[in-house]
């Protein structure tokens, strides 16, 4: 299947889009990446994702799919090489549970923390740390969440390896203390050492500029 069959509408700093990139790259699927200007979204994007008007959107054979976790499962079901989801139904349920947890408890809190200040930020940082504690328990004793190989849950949670340090810098805060989260930090080292994961990371300085601008919009001080 040629690269003209698969298009990804993305924004360079999006942790959600990054998941899709990692999944496609691990499976060796060719794709065309179309960079969207988040501040000036294209009409095409708005047509492809009219409900949320967001990136990422995967377009495969002219059919659009939105929502990164939905896209990941679609990719795994469509391209069978390098399976991402566990084979066993119980382990699949387990992976989906923690993906859901990380999304609703960790990501949401970390996002609020990077946008807010003082009391609101302190509350969000604490919530993020609490969520991180549960994830720390999950990864203990494992190289990757997927076992010996990177899998679905590694890709879903992978954003913390690269986005959390940027968000910490932008928000002048600390969520991922290496002393408190040794297992997660060991996993981060393993995860970022994987060439496919590392080679596709966006430029850090551009990300910092973007996230600073988002923070200024909300907390102009």
């Amino acid at each position: 299947m040629g690269s003209e069959d698969v298009k990804l509408f993305n924004f360079h700093a999006s942790p959600f889009g990054q998941r899709v990139i990692w999944a496609l790259k691990l499976k060796g699927v060719d794709y065309e990446c179309i960079e969207e200007d988040i501040f000036n979204k294209s009409n095409l994007l708005l047509e492809l994702n009219p409900v949320h008007k967001k990136v990422p959107v995967l377009v495969h054979c002219n059919k659009p799919i939105a929502e990164s976790l939905v896209i990941l499962e679609y990719i795994d079901e469509t391209w069978k090489q390098y399976p991402l989801m566990p084979q066993n139904p119980y382990q699949r349920a387990h992976a989906r549970f923690w993906a859901n947890f990380a999304e609703h408890k960790l990501l949401v809190a970390a996002r609020i923390a990077r946008l807010s200040s003082e009391e609101e930020q302190e509350k969000a940082v604490n919530e993020a740390r609490e969520a991180m504690e549960k994830i720390e328990e999950e990864i203990k004793g494992k190289k990757f969440f997927g076992g010996d190989k990177i899998g679905y849950l590694d890709i879903v949670i992978g954003w913390i390896s690269y986005w959390i340090p940027v968000w910490e810098e932008v928000g002048s805060m600390k969520i991922l203390d290496p002393l408190k989260f040794p297992a997660i930090n060991a996993w981060i080292t393993n995860f970022l050492s994987h060439p496919t994961i590392n080679d596709t990371l966006p430029q850090r300085d551009k990300m910092v500029v973007y996230y600073h601008s988002r923070r200024k919009e909300v907390s102009p001080s």
Partner: protein, 230 residues
């Protein structure tokens, strides 16, 4: 599989619990239903769902599975010889999952907040949002059903379950606000679909009566009002 091997910990008013029950019914799985007591939360609940301490929890051969949509997919995976719940094609599965996510992350939270709305303006705004969501779902039904009775086609599927479970609470909101949300004019296909869904063999015994839900909602609202300082 003997009855006691599959247990479902739940609560009769919960739409999320209903999802699990419908899935098990579709697959004709015998299971033991355990009505959670809540005050206080049972040791079984705290043990089997320590992260959220919420129902539903499916317990299969002593292994707990939490989160309703995850349970539905698990049931579909394990009892694979029964009728399929998720569509067979990856793209159709993605569409079903997309709308189920929309329902849980956007639409249902908006519906719930109608009951707690502060002031008429706020309530009207939220009701409009619920209505806009229903218009999107009407369109989704037309696209995914391909002229058949359900989102899943001839048989109820993942998206029917994900959405249909909210019909009881949708009717409660209509009753409490006096506003018709599922409207013959705006969402005619959804109105027909709702009737078919509620009459379905896998659904009718687990869909609570609207009157009972209204009483339950009023009791909850009274409790909230009593515990909120003025």
């Amino acid at each position: 599989m003997t009855k006691s091997e599959v247990k479902l910990l739940g609560a009769w008013p919960s739409p999320f619990v209903m999802r699990a029950r419908i899935a098990l019914n579709i697959k004709s799985v015998s299971y033991e239903f355990l009505e959670e007591t809540f005050q206080p939360k049972s040791p079984l609940l705290l043990d089997s769902n320590p992260v959220y301490k919420k129902v539903p929890v499916l317990i299969n051969q002593d292994k707990p599975i939490c989160e309703s949509l995850i349970i539905v997919q698990y049931v579909d995976d394990v009892w694979s010889s029964g009728p399929s719940i998720l569509p067979s094609e990856p793209y159709d599965r993605a569409i079903a999952r997309f709308w189920a996510t929309y329902l849980d992350d956007k639409w249902y939270p908006t519906l719930r907040s109608v009951r707690g709305a502060k002031g008429e303006d706020d309530r009207k705004k939220l009701i409009t949002e619920v209505g806009e969501g229903l218009t999107l779902l009407e369109d989704a039904l037309n696209k995914t059903s391909r002229g058949k009775d359900f989102f899943g086609g001839d048989q109820i599927g993942y998206l029917d379950i994900a959405f249909g479970c909210f019909l009881g609470w949708l009717r409660v909101t209509e009753s409490l606000t006096g506003v018709k949300l599922l409207d013959q004019v705006k969402t005619p296909c959804l109105v027909k679909w709702a009737e078919r869904f509620c009459a379905h063999g896998a659904v009718k015994d687990v869909m609570p009566q609207t009157e009972k839900l209204v009483e339950f909602a009023k009791m909850l609202m009274a409790k909230m009002a009593a515990s909120t300082p003025n």
